[in-house]
Assembly symmetry: C2
């Protein structure tokens, strides 16, 4: 269950790309951003994956940017005809878009002027009013407009952009967590008592995560809270429960 | 870009679980289901990941089940207090939910009657009117209600449930695809001509996918269509373009 403590700083991710929905490319960015946000004290609340279709991208950008503190998009900012994220974000915000001179200068760090053809210049098209997110890997920048961070889909570039933009975000109180290994105790055996503990500790979130191993299920109980004392009190009760039930 | 050919058979995935959003667990089910649907001729059109919160689950179930032919959910059907998917799906459909005798019989294949406590019986709570999806791994079933398939989050169990339910789905015309390796040709060099080819072949979807390798970018152009002749014609033009530009 999610923590009942309110965190005022929330986020969503929008992954854009047919190649993820077809299964051809397996997304690696969601997990990377999730880890990053958790460490920064920002609650990732929702993720959506949509195809390279303007109406779906615009709808998702507007749904998520109005609902959460931050929205991170990945994918669709390259030079080819299927890269339409920047245009869709401009449309979602109702602003214009054109080649940005700062972005053109960044591209010129990598490309000779005579190689900066119309296709490559697409990567310098930035919605009016956006700030650029530098791309140390291949220069073509991402951008931030309002509370939306528009990043590349290639994982190494996305990671570099996240590192660049991350320090500019306001984090919340960091979520602390402790894991109790329920080795040898089936979920169905501890579930009733665990629910009672969860009820008694309203400021703590307790989840049970079964994992299959060659030796059978290996269950972990994860206790999460923003307050260290509340966390420790709940963790101690969970550990005592598991010890009592252990074979 | 998505194919302009209409496929009447579409799908969405709803991943349910705080552990995915916190980054603690890295999802593996989206890619598995995406591959499965592509092979079956079903277009995966959208994916959402939401936390273990009733309002968000119910809203997402209703948004996605009304928009697509099929909805697949993963996660939240175990015995612990944070497993609330079945109740939320019942609420989304406006039907009741209770212990299902068929599901109880399945659980009794694994558990002795005296071990079938209240927590384990939660796994037999099935919305009224649903059909069960067998779980050969740990017995606790998934279920299908209307066009919604409710499956486990543990990848091995999800896979077994998908194999069980898959043959009951109506597939569409299968999407065919061919990949042209643009070895040594940068995206920005072929993007303009590729857009022209894409425009000329309206029944074909053409995407360009850069991948970083230690030797630099390795780009692939993927041509997709449901019609083999249309696919071949576009693929030949793309291959000729790449050959012309190759260093």
């Amino acid at each position: 269950m999610s923590t009942p403590e309110e965190n005022p700083v929330t986020a969503a991710i929008l992954v854009i790309g047919d190649e993820i929905l077809s299964g051809r490319t397996k997304d690696k960015n969601i997990g990377t951003i999730a880890d990053y946000l958790t460490a920064a004290g920002i609650d990732l609340r929702e993720v959506r994956i949509v195809p390279d279709e303007p109406a779906m991208i615009v709808e998702a950008v507007n749904a998520l940017r109005t609902r959460y503190t931050y929205l991170f998009t990945t994918g669709g900012i390259g030079p080819t005809h299927d890269d339409i994220t920047a245009d869709c974000v401009a449309q979602a915000f109702g602003v214009g878009i054109d080649v940005d001179e700062r972005a053109r200068a960044m591209l010129l760090e990598r490309h000779k002027p005579e190689d900066l053809n119309a296709a490559r210049l697409r990567m310098a098209r930035i919605p009016f009013g956006a700030d650029l997110i530098p791309n140390p890997v291949s220069k073509a920048p991402g951008f931030r407009i309002g509370n939306v961070m528009v990043m590349a889909g290639v994982p190494a570039i996305m990671q570099a952009m996240l590192d660049a933009v991350g320090p500019t975000l306001s984090g919340g109180a960091r979520m602390l967590s402790e894991t109790v290994e329920a080795r040898g105790v089936p979920e169905g055996t501890y579930a009733g008592d665990l629910a009672e503990i969860a009820k008694r500790h309203a400021a703590v979130s307790i989840g049970s995560y079964p994992m299959m191993t060659p030796e059978g299920f290996r269950n972990r109980i994860v206790v999460r809270a923003r307050d260290a004392a509340a966390l420790a009190a709940a963790r101690d009760e969970v550990a005592a429960l598991v010890a009592r039930l252990a074979p």
